[in-house]
Symmetry: C2
Subunit: 151 residues, 2 copies
């Protein structure tokens, strides 16, 4: 394996798959004594350019974010279109899905990971940036998400 | 549910279950461009006072730690005695097991969580402190670990 593949080791986010984002958001809010965040819906495929395993996908998800020290905890309730979220939730049940890192140079980082047998699984755009889920299960035992924010 | 049950929302650690700690530690070290840490073995039951589901357990685990920004990433390779590690690994396969929080007042925090239907699953001692794994799967969709370090 190449060394220092993404140029950072700062975990920015933990993503957790849930079946009912309102119920689990409320449980987190109560447990940690914070206000319950409103969930937001990811953009439609024409805006998000969502691709799952190389094909456009209409998949969307409800997202809710909690600030947990220096990192975000993201709750994700996917719809039933094909996505890494839906696939992983169906296979593993509710629970942790990924750890995320903020990187520069998305295309180069994806190519570098793919050269190291860590294939791109899903990618998409959001307001102000883009994401890519990489299949690092074989080596790191957890899915990695790359986040690139516009400067 | 009571509010603000453990008095902190700073995630201190993510714990990941693995079958081969040396292989996965080397993969993490290469991927993130850091030195491969040596694993350590948890203490024997007479020292660690390990209890799993209310009974003493001889379970031990190999642990390796990576510093990932402000939090630790812990790799855990459990032995085959009864533990939350072995149970979760057998049921879910390799992958994330818990998120951990550093707290004060272990006994009071455990009692408070148990009053809120989040039972203690496993506890033990380590040099300089003690831990407790709490079953928060129903509400938070991930196991919580409480860590209390001696002052």
């Amino acid at each position: 394996m190449d060394k220092n593949i993404i140029g950072t080791k700062v975990i920015a986010q933990i993503g957790i798959l849930v079946n009912d984002i309102e119920k689990t958001s409320q449980a987190y809010a109560d447990f940690f004594g914070v206000e319950c965040p409103k969930w937001s819906l990811t953009d439609t495929v024409d805006v998000a350019k969502t691709e799952y395993r190389g094909q456009p996908s209409e998949a969307r998800a409800k997202l809710a974010f909690f600030h947990m020290g220096s990192l975000q905890l993201e709750l994700i309730e996917p719809d039933h279109h094909p996505s890494t979220w839906r696939e992983y939730l169906d296979e593993h049940g509710e629970g942790p899905h990924h750890i995320a890192f903020v990187i520069d140079g998305m295309q180069e980082k994806i190519m570098r990971m793919e050269r190291n047998q860590m294939p791109l699984v899903q990618k998409g755009e959001y307001t102000g940036g883009r994401y890519a889920y990489m299949d690092t299960l074989q080596d790191l035992k957890v899915i990695l998400e790359l986040l690139e924010n516009d400067k």
